[in-house]
Symmetry: C4
């Protein structure tokens, strides 16, 4: 293995399936033998054969990836980057427009709610990053329903309650926190911000908010833990690896590093098809666009597929006792979607469940967390189990009214994911911080307006859930001819501009 | 203190936080010490430090404000306004377009209903004034639901009733009035019309309609009372001040000046977040738009916050007997939103409640008054209490059919706010008068068409409320791909224009 | 009174309120004294003082109007029309465009359904005529609901029925007819076609369809009866005049001339406010557009008000026996809107009712006929009264499926109005005839497809009315921010057009 | 009959109703006497009198048509095609644009779901072909409802099931197949692809999917059977001919050639009115566009009518035993739409039913198959008949989630039609193959996500059908004035592009 610096020309010779070298962060690697094993497929690597792959590699691989997965004999050492030919980027008109929009971005103070960050993000994020974050399964019906389901629940506010003092701090899995939401786990933070998930860690600290660390983070687990300050609380989200030894190592490491909760994802035996994500990747392919036939289906599956091949689809209830045996952290199932499974989790002594459909990214027309919650809680109360297990929900939460509705129904807390990604991808830590502050401002206001001083005051009596009972509702398609024939009423007309 | 007139140059020297003078209506004031106490924040005053602040000051402060709240030692005396440099206004293209639209305004007779005034107002009002009047809480769902809830109630009209004579005069809180609606209290009338609330007083007189005087009027209370004529009836709307002595003084003064009802607002322990209003203020800020961080949240909260800091969030049921002890006026709670609170109000001997969500300006997804009314009345009737307490509603009323539905359900009367503001802001007193006349015309017509001669004929048998029972209803999000793929039917095509 | 022909100049001198002459169909009339009595107001006459008013007069007055209502002493005799100065019509750009559209009208065969005629009519009719025909009360919610209510009812078709022969002829009020719909009464036919209602008479004859003659026809009653052929059946629609002698004369004359049914309109004690109609008239006014104040309300009320001042709002159930005493024709109440009134009509021995809301032109949010029908029929059947009285409906019928749904529920027949007006206003008699034929074609087809050979086969078992039970349903207003933030899925993109 | 080749000039002389020759595939035919019998009407033939009709003839007549239906004496023999004058096609701007769009078609891999093929097809298919495939009855409400009805059903997914292995192969009518959908019968395949239905046969083979052969195929029955490979399974869809001998011959021939199921269409005693189809034909007519009158109705009825005049509208339950007597193939009724008829089919010993409304092409507001299924299955289970008869559905299936919902309710399998036509019309066999593969990919994914390993695991417990119980639901029409008056909330504004 050469110890003197390699040159770009050296690397460039190894540009084929037969001998494939790539440069990452100034070092060269021989990935020829690794090609068939790459979870994201060979094609994406071959695109960079003999070239610098850092930009593509960076957001979707934690920094310790190459050390972990590539034998040290394949680490070829440093490259003199001055000798590496710069890819001359073709001026992509979409990219030029995006750069122009970035220059004209609204100031942070013009964001008054969590949707505002999403609107800004849609305009300034890279197309593929936006597609990965914003996409959902199939027709994205569940993804959107997650939010609109909250609109079926209305308040029954109490008046003339002394609300001078409002306190919405609470306890989740035994830890105090300032407000009953947590930053839920989301993958690939560096797609939106070069620093990745540690940005969320810092903002969470400033607002005394709990952060759930994702298995598929762009930062390494330790980087995220290192970024916490004081007694800041973190939880671990876990995709269970086919190799249980790896899983065990991850869990016990997290516990050792102070994580206060283990959230096992159970709604993703296979990561979902997200067509917006797939389509955004597609145009990258460029070449052979006229090729046809079945095998094409397996390519360009978007970021989700590329990073998830290790997940074990055989995970089942039988595995739960094993998890209980390897850690003392409270264990929570993330992604429960029916009453029966909540009851089973309680019976098995689990500490909590997150009623979630994975942000609408897995199964389309899966129910929203808030609707499952409304079904679950009366049954738990009937059994006297409402304190036996903590119920969380995530999905579609954008306003403190959404949080309040969940808590009135009986949730212990709620997870919020995408909105903080959008805030982070647009305004960095300050954006995330403002997003959290906006929720706190709304929370204080709305606690007052429904007549509640503290979390314990939030009871089912404060909400009207009749709108949920009619199930999922689709109107009869309208007759387009009648719509076109109808001449709508006019508002009064302003007179014509004088032509003079 | 100088007695000779000050010059603009004198004032202009005091243009900083350290020494801050402002001119209002030709007089100078030293507000340096007052700065930190200003409910609307220091920033807005500092913008006018050393300058004439009249235009900004005028609509949001009653004329007696400076006398009341600023020690007379800070009143610096008159300014020779010829020496004050005129701010050269930058030609704002939006403002130029607005002025152009004002020139082309439709004639008053082209307004055939209350929505028409809103459409005209949206086009001709100043942006910030429009934003303050038209905004609602959060997503403005409740604000819009207030009107659309009426569409869930349909008539069951009676035929072959002799309706030659129709009389819709009625009695509210013991006073006769020509029609069962009143002008409800709305803040800051001078934003829309330089004369402010007295315009409403005059139109209300012409139509024998009751007016509720707002605490947050631009005109002073006495100006509004002075504007009434003959035995015209006025009520007082009250925001309860943290200092109960001030409250007592206000209430007893109102009673002394002839007010016939006291409406205590109970749905606003804190005035709502109205993002349309906040956003309209924002562009004013101008400078430091790139600033970030949490403290930004507290600025530019819109007009609502600026004027409401005195309101007491600790007001509670315990305070009610005190109110009953200080006045003989009938007392009505304004902003009741659930059955239990109506019953409690009746039990405490209150004279009425207004089922209201503050025009959708406070808590989003709070229920509409009309829906709460439909829940409340059967319970009151079951207890035989339907005459023990008068039930009013406000919110979303735009047509006489809306009024009729409320009365059929059992309301004594309804409040109408924004539509009269829009009429006043566009066509002045004549506009308000026409808006009232339109409602009367509709009322006569529609009483006939449902087969009712007088208010007593309006009973639940005349309406179908089944549409309310399904609660709040949101359709499943549609699949956008299918909508795009669908090729709608065509109407017959006109042939192409000949090119000759 | 001059016997020699008058000149235009003679007439033109009488152009004021003090002496007002007008020319109609080549003859001059002195209407000075008549001015205050004109049901449509003085203003519209004064516009033509001293001029030729024929074009305005024609469509809204039956030809015998002047003879009937103006004393013969005011008939001034013929005018030499060559001496009458032609109003030079200002080239109205809207009118020029309309003339252009008329030239490019689609051929009649391109109309495949009744909505197609409406679309063509909207483009080629005069603005005021279109506004009169197409308008409804207030927000036109009932007008549109009339049609969309049919979409809540779905079929439960029967298969494997021998449907080689399908016969949809039926009997209404004792008369055979080819298909269970009739042409219902609509006013002012000459607004759409210079020949007026006789066009409908002729087409009805060709298709063996019953025609209901309107009180407010543009043609005189006798003209319409004269136009019938053979044993063609006509009914009379009656607005009851305050002067019962006039009413008696009309009814007995109709019976003498062979009318087979008397339909007394009971949903119009006062003709509705139709803002589209009012607005279309308004721009005529032209002058004094800046005038303000209450009296403006009484002008420009549209055609509806102008022609209906004679209608008696005191008409009541007490009058029914009198009608039964003056005619042997079957008597039907037109415009019944609640179950109780159907039962009362049956009890009083009336022959039928039309469940109708006057095409949505009277009371907005009045229920659709089809929905009232679904409520009425089970109650009639429970009492064994389903054959005691014939139930008709009108409003919103556009497809034979609509007719079939009404008949399955239990209606004897349905009335169709506007679609034939639109067909008549665009393609004349051929248009009406095609519209009727299209309904027959659809009827044959759809009888087959639901498995019914004859009218008696149409029973409630063939339809699913569960959609009606949820009442009137309005979705929660959507949150516009979320809609804007959402990035819809994309269909595959076509590649860019090459720039070469 | 001339044996030497005819010339174009020879044929061109016979260009009238009196003597009408046409050329098809290089041969001339004398169709003078056949004219009045042509099911599609004389007009369309006369358009090609004396000319080459191949292009029009091809897609809507199987190749053996002329041999079967035209006496051999009318076969005039070959034509020297070099002597036939080429119709100079007028450059149709729509056609030029379509050709341009074809050049820019997205690559096949950019189609990620079945709707994508429809979108591409809409842009690249010939107008008349698109209209025939995509059209539905009347307002196309049922056609669209077929898909949107699936959105009323939501999942209740099971978690922590070992889903490493997923198997969705199943058995339909006794035959194993790889996935529980089949290619249902659709007419006129050559409109979309010059090779016609055999393209579907080949793709079905590649994916081990069953194909139902349509009576109205463009290819002859034998061509389609000849195209099958190995033990590929085909079924026969049958329109019953008025002449039962013909029917018998067809059925027995199909059985002899190996068909494994007979699907008798029972929802089409007459083929539906499809206005999109009719309108697309219309512009062809060109001439006499100003003609009016009733007879026009019978022309240009679209492709559907032209090809279906032989269908027997008298087919009834009485005929079923006869079918059972002439074949041993399992017999299935295709187009059942109510519970009673499913029970009757079971009682008569039929092997299956397809709950179907013919893709929304027959009766508008007929119920969707999925909704009838939800009604039928509980009743079958109550009687213990769930295995007595196989229940299929078709209509609106676009996603594997749709298939899964049908199977959870109790369907044995589902038919898919239009999506494969669109895939075939755009990308040929590769398109159909990819469409099938996409469904398989989705199926595997979604079986995992609901926690099911095999078809037997799909039970009603996995779905929530409450959304179906509210029947068909149409919202109250909105008031357009309010919508226009409402000023929607704004997202933060990007600053203006600098003009420099």
């Amino acid at each position: 293995m050469s110890k003197g610096k390699l040159t770009g020309a050296d690397v460039a010779q190894h540009n084929s399936r037969d001998s494939c070298w790539v440069i990452v962060h100034g070092k060269a690697y021989d990935v020829t033998e690794f090609l068939p094993e790459h979870p994201g497929g060979q094609k994406i690597i071959l695109k960079y054969a003999g070239k610098d792959a850092t930009e593509e590699f960076e957001p979707i691989h934690p920094p310790d990836t190459l050390d972990k997965y590539l034998d040290s004999s394949k680490h070829l050492g440093e490259v003199d980057m001055n000798t590496v030919e710069q890819e001359e980027k073709v001026a992509d008109p979409e990219e030029i427009e995006r750069q122009e929009r970035i220059k004209r971005m609204p100031p942070l103070q013009a964001c008054y709610n969590l949707m505002d960050f999403e609107t800004v993000a849609r305009n300034v994020m890279k197309k593929t990053a936006w597609a990965y974050y914003s996409s959902g399964a199939d027709d994205e019906i569940t993804m959107r329903e997650n939010h609109s389901a909250f609109h079926k629940i209305w308040f029954r506010p109490r008046i003339l309650v002394d609300v001078e003092n409002v306190d919405f701090s609470t306890t989740m899995l035994g830890t105090k926190t300032s407000i009953p939401f947590y930053v839920t786990a989301t993958a690939l933070g560096k797609l939106g911000n070069p620093e990745g998930e540690v940005v969320l860690t810092r903002a969470a600290h400033d607002h005394d908010v709990i952060q759930m660390i994702p298995t598929l983070a762009s930062c390494s687990f330790d980087e995220i833990v290192d970024a916490k300050k004081g007694d800041q609380v973190q939880w671990l989200q876990l995709y269970v690896n086919k190799d249980r030894e790896i899983t065990k190592r991850i869990v016990q490491h997290a516990e050792a590093r102070g994580c206060k909760g283990l959230f096992i994802t159970v709604d993703a035996p296979q990561l979902g098809r997200r067509e917006k994500d797939m389509r955004s990747k597609f145009s990258d392919a460029g070449s052979n666009v006229q090729a046809t036939g079945g095998d094409a289906v397996d390519r360009s599956q978007g970021a989700a597929r590329a990073i998830s091949s290790f997940i074990d689809p055989s995970l089942s209830w039988k595995d739960i006792p094993w998890f209980q045996s390897i850690t003392k952290m409270p264990i929570v199932l993330k992604g429960v979607q029916r009453v029966e499974d909540v009851l089973r989790a309680a019976e098995m002594g689990l500490d909590g469940v997150v009623l979630s459909n994975h942000g609408g990214r897995q199964l389309d027309t899966a129910p929203s967390g808030i609707e499952v919650l409304a079904e679950v809680m009366p049954i738990l109360r009937e059994r006297g189990w409402e304190n036996k297990i903590e119920i969380f929900i995530d999905g579609g939460i954008r306003r403190s009214t959404d949080i309040l509705k969940a808590l009135c129904l009986g949730a212990r807390g709620v997870g919020i994911g995408r909105p903080f990604l959008y805030a982070m991808s647009t305004y960095g830590q300050a954006g995330v911080s403002r997003a959290m502050q906006l929720l706190k401002d709304e929370m204080e206001m709305n606690m007052r307006l429904i007549g509640a001083n503290k979390i314990e005051d939030l009871t089912p009596s404060l909400i009207d859930v009749r709108g949920l009972s009619s199930g999922h509702h689709a109107s009869v398609p309208s007759d387009t001819l009648t719509l076109r024939a109808y001449d709508p009423l006019q508002a009064p007309r302003f007179s014509e501009k004088s032509k003079l």
